[in-house]
Amino acid sequence: MTRSGGRVIISPLTRALKQALSIGVAVAALTAAVLGQVRPDSPAPAGRAAEQARKTIDTYCVGCHNTRAKAGGLALDATPVDAVSEHPDVWEAAVRKLRGRLMPPPGNKQPEQREIDTFVTWMEAQLDAAAARGPAAGHVPVQRMTRTEYATAVNDLLGLELNAKDVLPAEIEVNGFENVATALSTSPAFLDQYVGAARRAAKLAVGEPVPKVGSAHYVKAKGDDQAAHIDGLPLGTRGGMKFRHTFPADGEYRFTFPDLGVDLYTRVVETKHTLVLLIDGREVFRESLGGPADMKTVDRGGAPGRAKVMERFTNVPVQVKAGTYDIAVAFIERARIESDEFVGFLPGDEFSRGDRFPRLVDGVTVRGPFNATGVSETASRQKVFVCHTDDRACVRRIAGNLARRAFRRPVTAEEVESLLPYFNEGRTLPGGFDTGVEHLIAAVLVSPEFLYRGAGDAGEPKGSPLRRLTDLELASRLSFFLWSQGPDDALLKAAAAKRLSDPALLRAQALRMLKDPRAASLVRNFALKSFDLDTLSESQPDPNLFPTFTDLLRQDMATEAESFLSSVLLEDRNVGDLLTANYTFLNERLARHYGIKSVFGPQFRRVTLDEPQRFGLLGKGAMLLHTSYGNRTSPVLRGAWVMGKLMGTPPTPPPPDVDTDLSQPKGEPPKTLRARLESHRSKPGCRQCHGVIDPIGLALENYDAIGRWRTIDSEANAPIDASTVLPDGRPVNGPAQLQQALFGGQDLFVRAFTEKLTMYALGRELKAYDMPQIRAVVRGAAAQDYRLSALVSGIVTSDAFRMQARD
């Protein structure tokens, strides 16, 4: 048993046995060489292969990484290649740099790919062999739910639709992930919001038997087209908007449409239009606007006249039962040829031009309830009220049911009892039984057994440095990994029956859960974050340079990215398809943006692509927009994105006081971005990193800053040149060749993907000792085409997932 840097290895070999082995090293090495294999438990090199590896290091690395220069703090001349288990971190890093061809730095003598492959294969075999001596796992401290997990769990527990962002403060993201345990601290701001969230969620779930009149305003999307059909609204309508609203009690609610475009001039009311309001698809209000009578009122009545017309759209009463519903507001599309009336947009002078039809300008306000008559059965109440009698037994049942699901394990009678005072406290208030239950729910939600996982159910046997997770701990780790929330009944049952400690049954549960709709959380909370595509709203293209860019287009790009990731991951395709798939998801707006003319209508659908321009993630608007600046592309950002997100080899940040002067002498004609970057790469200090980063980004220069395909750089008025030379000397022209050169025929991307997936699954950063397990997962998944299910199976049955080191 040895201990190094927080990592614990249980070795089956005793110290004495090891000594005996090292005496027999020479013999073992010889045997291994003869048999052409490496003995897994032998610390000795396999003769010539080791010599060859040493030679590779000496030829290409030791020039800088030596005892004297110590570039990067590394002295590879003094690090023997035949004792990798002493420096797994050094060699794992070396292998990574070589695989990504980050080293040797561009401009230095480069090894042949064959030589790299030989070295990497040999070194990885050494590292894997060293790791095979015993299981290894890291320590994950007691883990608070992230705000996303909290909202997901509460929504599932209570049938609500909370948005994590509105409920709790932002989390610190490590490598883009929220769920890294060491980063999940608590602060007064967190706790303040957390207790408030529990109170309010409980109130929403129970409904308000004694409700207050409240009001909510929903704003329509910016830049939408009120003249055209809006996706998601009933066919045959135009304009309008949709949203979801929670009605706290049965009663009357009043809808107001504050601005329908009726203004000083009469053009909007010249013709008759009809506005409809639907709740969960059922029409509850229909009223016309425009036509001769309204026109007269608006024309002659001035402001009071307009107000009179709008009265019909103010405080529209609708009876609604408690619950959360889809609300849709739209205008009925009218035939443009039924009369010779002009409906549309009229260009012209200031007084006559504009939209000649009413439209939703601002949004919709909902106020209520008035004359509330109580709370009828809602989805939330059905989940909470497993019985309805106002007595102790029923309260205990409600408490036990909630606590078991919230705490992700069977609960004790004592735990149920501890919740009852909260019921009693609320029971005395005007809402009676319901308010009692409301307070009880809030008490469940603030329990640390809910907020923290891995607390209280460990049953720690002392003494051993590494322990297997209990079945219940495994159940939680598995379900937070795949669903971002606690286990369902089936998984809890399997855990209670101690079946999860059997890897085959654990795997079977994982595969079952991957097929569940809740696995969509992997797309939102893992994939989108892993590729950093969840923050598109931060990209703000210059409206003068990119007038066609709108918030809706941004939203379309996000939809495309999410649909694409979903289809590859949740339909269980080869994860490599993320880079190569010849299909995507488009609506008309995005298709036109891409120059694809065969897609019509606002709804998204799967489209098979003829041209490789939009294949895989490299061709997706979301990625291209995200890696651009407001007024131009950034080959550096794009190159760094490819390296960090796809290759698993993020570039190191620039040193301080680095000279970044890219300016050109005054009086010269403007150069292309490419030319400016090239002059910068000629400086040795920059070249070391940018020699790797920039060529990758330059190969993507055919995409402009908002992801359109282009052949001309409009700023420099010069043709786009997307041909570059990768650090290893291979020429590449354009995205398809780049993809092929970087990822074709090797598993670089699958490895990087698996690393990130493992980090997300464990809630901790990976260490050198995890890498052999990652490689094993990737090897194991190869036969199953690197499907997500195969990678997940490998991860959940690994020691890293199923074990825990003591801290």
Binding site: G196, A198, K212, A443, S447, P448, T535, P543, T660
Partner: protein, 446 residues
């Protein structure tokens, strides 16, 4: 649909977010001479720390002093503000500017260390956990903040979780200015509605507020008792996690106590903002207004404000700069980019100056709120093209309860740690320390 929609009904704003929402918070409040303003026996010092990323155009470009748009000159009556600081003209008797300050702690982190080392003056330790030190604002909060509902308020105009890519421990240091202790970064809030809720709580009537307070108290009781019960079975490091949690519980208990005792009757609480505003310029102002409101109602005496996120790609189309802030900050000594940066920096000072101007108009005890304030405004980077930490653009603003004399530019003869200014601020806040960060003393004559 949740926090942002219906729970603060009386105060709900019906207009669309970002479109029409203009909140003249300070104007909406009770006219000047209120009971609250006058009953204050002794004026309480308010402190604030206002952060702008990516340095400033001082004499740090290849053009040298001729392109210095930041540094003022002269002192006293001849104190002359620079173009970037021009908007502080009316309050310049409250302004001291500093030259030759440096912060060694931010060096080497490019952007990632700049926010958190601004008020710490020390480099964090490497490792998988956050490891900084208590920041200046939090030292002051421990001293000044215990009599107010919120010991301190941490806000930002936009999510700070961006651009400056981070991995591992660096992630702790580019999102916040504030560390409560070495391992406790404080999250910044950018949703004005949540900030409002933190300041004023919930409930429309006294009865409702009392009911919420009661429920909150008993929920906090549950958290402490259950947490202590769980803690028994845990290993050492997990126990520390829960110790920290329990400490936060006690802080919130204190807060609830303060909140139920506070009297807001003299303040007409304005309507709650509906959420984050789409228009950046309005969002920046709204957060300034919320801070001013918190000072005025004495809900906090310490605030930190990240006016725009480190490494942000935000554009400033509203002042005619369509370039993203971070890339244009790599100006490469290109004159047109330098001019754009000057525009951005000038605009931020203008927003700050407008806030300062509002405080100057609010009577507070024997003077104005500005007389009883001490604000640090600046960046933890000098030349954004080089990511370096000397000289840092830094000004101190406010009367400091009579401890701060303005109208001057102080330029130590040799590079001086920023932490020396922090020491000076601590002295003025009545919380002097022997050392702070890499300080070597205080700065004289401030």
């Amino acid at each position: 649909m949740f926090l942002t929609k219906r729970h603060l009904s009386r105060r709900t704003v019906l207009k669309g977010a970002g479109v029409t929402l203009a909140l003249p918070f300070l104007d909406a409040m009770v006219p000047a001479a209120t009971a609250l303003a006058q009953t204050a026996a002794k004026a309480k010092l308010r402190t604030g720390f206002f952060y702008i990323p990516h340095g400033a155009i001082l004499g740090n470009t290849s053009f040298g002093p001729e392109m210095d748009k930041w540094t003022p000159s002269g002192s006293g009556a001849s104190f002359k503000l620079s173009p970037i600081l021009k908007s502080l003209e009316k309050q310049k008797q409250y302004v001291t500017s500093f030259g030759n300050l440096q912060n060694a702690a931010m060096i080497g982190g490019v952007h990632s260390l700049a926010p958190a080392t601004w008020l710490s003056g020390m480099k964090p330790e490497r490792g998988s956990k956050a490891s900084m030190s208590t920041t200046l604002d939090q030292v002051i909060a421990q001293h000044l903040g215990q009599d107010t509902t919120l010991p301190s308020l941490e806000v930002a105009s936009e999510t700070t979780q961006q651009a400056a890519a981070c991995s591992s421990s660096a992630c702790y240091y580019n999102t916040t200015l504030s560390f409560r202790d070495a391992h406790s970064p404080l999250p910044v809030e950018y949703n004005p509605r949540k900030i409002f809720a933190a300041l004023f709580g919930e409930g429309d009537t006294p009865e409702e507020r009392a009911a919420i307070t009661n429920q909150t108290r008993s929920l906090l009781d549950r958290i402490s008792s259950r947490t202590r019960a769980l803690q028994r079975d845990l290993g050492a490091s997990d126990r520390v996690v829960f110790d920290n949690y329990l400490e936060t519980v006690r802080e919130i208990e204190r807060r609830v106590q303060m909140a139920s005792a506070r009297d807001l009757s003299a303040i007409e609480v304005p309507e709650a903002p509906i959420g984050e505003l789409d228009a950046f310029e309005k969002q920046v102002d709204l957060l300034f207004d919320l801070i001013a409101l918190a000072y005025r109602a004495d809900l906090t005496r310490v605030a930190t404000y990240i006016m725009v996120a480190e490494g942000t790609n935000r554009t400033y189309n509203h002042i005619g700069v369509s370039d993203s802030f971070h890339p244009v900050s790599h100006h490469a000594n290109d004159m047109s980019r330098l001019e754009k940066l000057v525009k951005i920096q000038t605009w931020h000072v203008e927003r700050f100056a407008s806030f300062v101007g509002k405080l100057a108009a609010v009577p507070d005890g024997d003077g104005t709120l500005l007389d009883h304030s001490l604000f640090l405004y600046g960046s933890n980077m000098s030349n954004s093209d080089k990511h370096n930490g000397h000289p840092l653009p830094t000004i101190l603003v406010g009367g400091g309860n009579g401890t701060h004399k303005g109208s001057q530019h102080i330029e130590p003869s040799s590079p001086t740690p920023l932490a020396n200014l922090h020491m000076t601020i601590l002295e003025k806040a009545g919380a002097p320390q022997k050392t702070f960060g890499d300080s070597t003393g205080t700065i004289a004559g401030v």
